[in-house]
């Protein structure tokens, strides 16, 4: 194995990474690696902090999905207190998570990926961005901005701010939701639903245009892991996990996320700050890469039987008519995302009709009653685990964060390898290859600030490395 091509920086994803493509003696792509090159150390510096500070402290991991960290952290805190959050608080938290899924998916689809999808992967890079798209398709961009704004309004109602809110705390939430806030959210719902429906239609239409990409971009069997209601309904925040295999057969069901260590291992790698989780049971020959599983929108729509809402379920049925019960191509993450936007809005509508949502008892108080607690929730990019241990006074002594993007790392490597094999034909890295590799990564909507608990913009390096370990070609971007 030798050659490394480096794509650096990978743009329009959240964070900073590089990619290496390893060639064999015949000059064929033997392997690909996605490296995350930044270090942050949240798990270190959270130690020694009082438990109550953890939600807003860990939320600083990321400005895209702070709500996901607030939620998983608050749930881990609840588990340590040993008390459930009051019913109204649980509904508010669910509402915030739905808003989070809407805004984050809208960002991924419209701002980051739509330039590739609508302008074409070989369009001029100078205009292949959201600004170029605004020129070409102003209506579509307006829809995306509107959806993202609506998601953020939902988040703001619960957490107090659109980004880095603080209303979600250990034991519940800080403030009751007022009827004015609820009515404000209701007022914007119809427009958001209409935009989401139109987006599902648009995205479904793209599947024809990108038939080749659907085949090449990470189409392989894998395990899928996500929260799921016991009856098979899509779930985004509470309850238990379900894992299915590439054929849709249930591997594990109603699994308590608190026991994640029994089933998931975490591998550290010398060339990336991203810890790589793997499904222990699937590992063969001691190679963590064989324990690959996928999380996130694609995993959630594969694991669940249904969304439990009419419009999204119709969209899911149409997708299954086309690709089968299991959507195995990572390119379909995009479509899974827009289906989830629609489903989330429908679930928001149901929550806003629930009178318990406005109940004024929103916070439970207790001293720590347990020494360890795990909180899990579905972040937009997949299942997020926060695992804390505390001392007798409630000061955190150990932290483990298992992040969605990390869990997709093995699948991303495989996806990059497949794309490279399909498009790399010589010792040179062409723009077409770079564009497709970037787009392949972008399908996962990776968030590297979360996955390394790292910081910064996202430039990309891709290296092509020959069997002697020497770099044959290297391209930088960003």
């Amino acid at each position: 194995m030798h050659d490394i091509h480096v794509i650096d920086p990978v743009t329009r994803i959240e964070g900073h990474a590089k990619i290496t493509l390893h060639l064999d003696d015949q000059g064929e792509v033997a392997d690909a690696r996605f490296h995350v090159t930044e270090f942050r150390g949240f798990e270190e510096f959270c130690r020694g902090r009082p438990l109550a500070e953890m939600p807003a402290l860990t939320a600083r991991t990321c400005g895209i999905c702070p709500v996901s960290h607030l939620l998983a952290s608050a749930k881990a805190g609840d588990a340590i207190l040993g008390v459930p959050a009051p019913p109204a608080a649980q509904r508010q938290r669910r509402l915030a998570n739905l808003g989070q899924i809407v805004q984050s998916h809208a960002l991924s689809f419209f701002h980051l990926s739509a330039p590739d999808l609508l302008l074409g992967m070989d369009a001029d890079p100078a205009t292949r961005d959201v600004f170029g798209l605004m020129q070409a398709e102003p209506e579509i961009v307006r829809r995306g901005i509107g959806l993202r704004r609506y998601g953020q309004e939902v988040i703001e109602a619960v957490t107090g701010r659109r980004i880095h809110g603080h209303g979600i705390v250990v034991g519940g939430v800080t403030d009751p939701l007022t009827s004015d806030q609820r009515d404000g959210l209701r007022a914007g719902l119809d427009e958001a639903l209409a935009a989401a429906e139109a987006t599902v239609e648009l995205s479904f239409g793209l599947l024809d245009r990108f038939a080749a990409e659907v085949e090449i971009f990470g189409r392989f069997p894998s395990l899928y892991l996500a929260h799921c209601a016991p009856d098979g309904t899509w779930e985004h925040h509470d309850g238990t996990l379900r894992v299915i295999d590439g054929d849709g057969a249930i591997v594990v069901d109603q699994f308590d996320p608190a026991a994640y260590r029994d089933v998931l291992g975490e591998a550290a790698s010398p060339d990336s700050y991203l810890k790589v989780p793997y499904w222990k049971e699937a590992v063969s020959d001691g190679d963590p890469a064989t324990g690959m599983y996928r999380v996130g929108p694609l995993a959630r729509i594969n694991v669940a039987e249904r969304f439990g809402t009419p419009l999204a379920d119709a969209g899911l049925a149409a997708l299954r008519d086309r690709v089968g019960r299991i959507a195995s191509s990572s390119f379909l993450y995009h479509h899974a995302r827009v289906l989830e936007v629609l489903a989330s809005l429908e679930h928001i509508a149901m929550l806003l009709d629930d009178p318990v949502l406005l109940d004024e008892h929103v916070r439970a108080h207790a001293a720590p009653n347990r020494r360890r607690g795990v909180g899990a929730s579905e972040a937009p990019r997949g299942t997020l685990f926060h695992d804390y241990e505390v001392d007798a006074h409630g000061v955190v002594t150990a932290v483990n964060l298992v992040i969605a993007t990390g869990q997709n790392e093995l699948a991303m490597n495989r996806t990059i390898r497949d794309i490279a094999r399909a498009y790399v034909t010589g010792p040179e890295l062409t723009d077409g290859i770079l564009n497709r590799i970037e787009a392949g990564i972008r399908a996962y909507d990776p968030c590297l600030s979360c996955s390394t608990h790292a910081l910064g913009q996202m430039p990309m390096v891709v290296g092509l490395i020959d069997p002697r370990g020497e770099t044959v070609d290297e391209r930088h971007r960003g």
Binding site: E53, H166, V395
Partner: protein, 261 residues
Amino acid sequence: MSPREPRPTVPVTIDGQEVMAVEDETILSLARRVGVDIPTLCYLEGLSVYGGCRLCVVEVNGDARLKLACATPVWADMEVRTDTWDLREHRRRIIELLFAEGSHICATCVSNGACELQDLAATNRVDHIHYDLGFAPNLPLEPVDASHPRYVLDRDRCVRCSRCVRVCAEVEGAAVWEIAERGGNSRLVAEMDVPWGEASSCTSCGKCVLVCPTGALSFKGSAIGEMRHDPEVVAFLARAREEEEWLDRSAGSGSASEVRS
């Protein structure tokens, strides 16, 4: 002379404004009465004067040696300047040094949005720290003391203003707190440097938490940005005691046996 009778007054000029000051009152007291703003941190109405933070320094009669407004009594024909370029620069440096010394990362602090140090930085236009940080962000110099069942002490957020020391000794009468060591090593300790939860003299009254200007002392269970202090409670208590508000004066001399239940 009874303290309730009016005291003689003396003429003083403060920032060009000619005013009558009450004899023996401090420059700070005069300034506040006539609406001149002098920043303070360790000073708290109702407690003894400490003079530790040096933020309230002013120029008197053009003397290069600055005076503490909180600790300097007025005298006749004094000329005070509170807002010169030198003074503003001086105060900024003090605030920067306080920031450089501890863990003052507002975004992850319980007192974010209700912190006197944060307010001082904003009002005195501190936008950079020109000193080396004595603190690698978020790596604690001292472990958090969460041993008290109701309160938490994070010494890395402490500015050694000693308000807690004074309120505990002077108002609550418990004298749990003391500042140990000197200079950069000085640190707040409970009793003979025991964990707060083991300090048997602590009455758990919480006044120290209410007067803390930063997030060093907080209610246990406070989420980030949630802590709200109430330092004015000390002035209220001091006034109530001075005015004997809780004594039944109609019954006579106001001895303890006559306190209303």
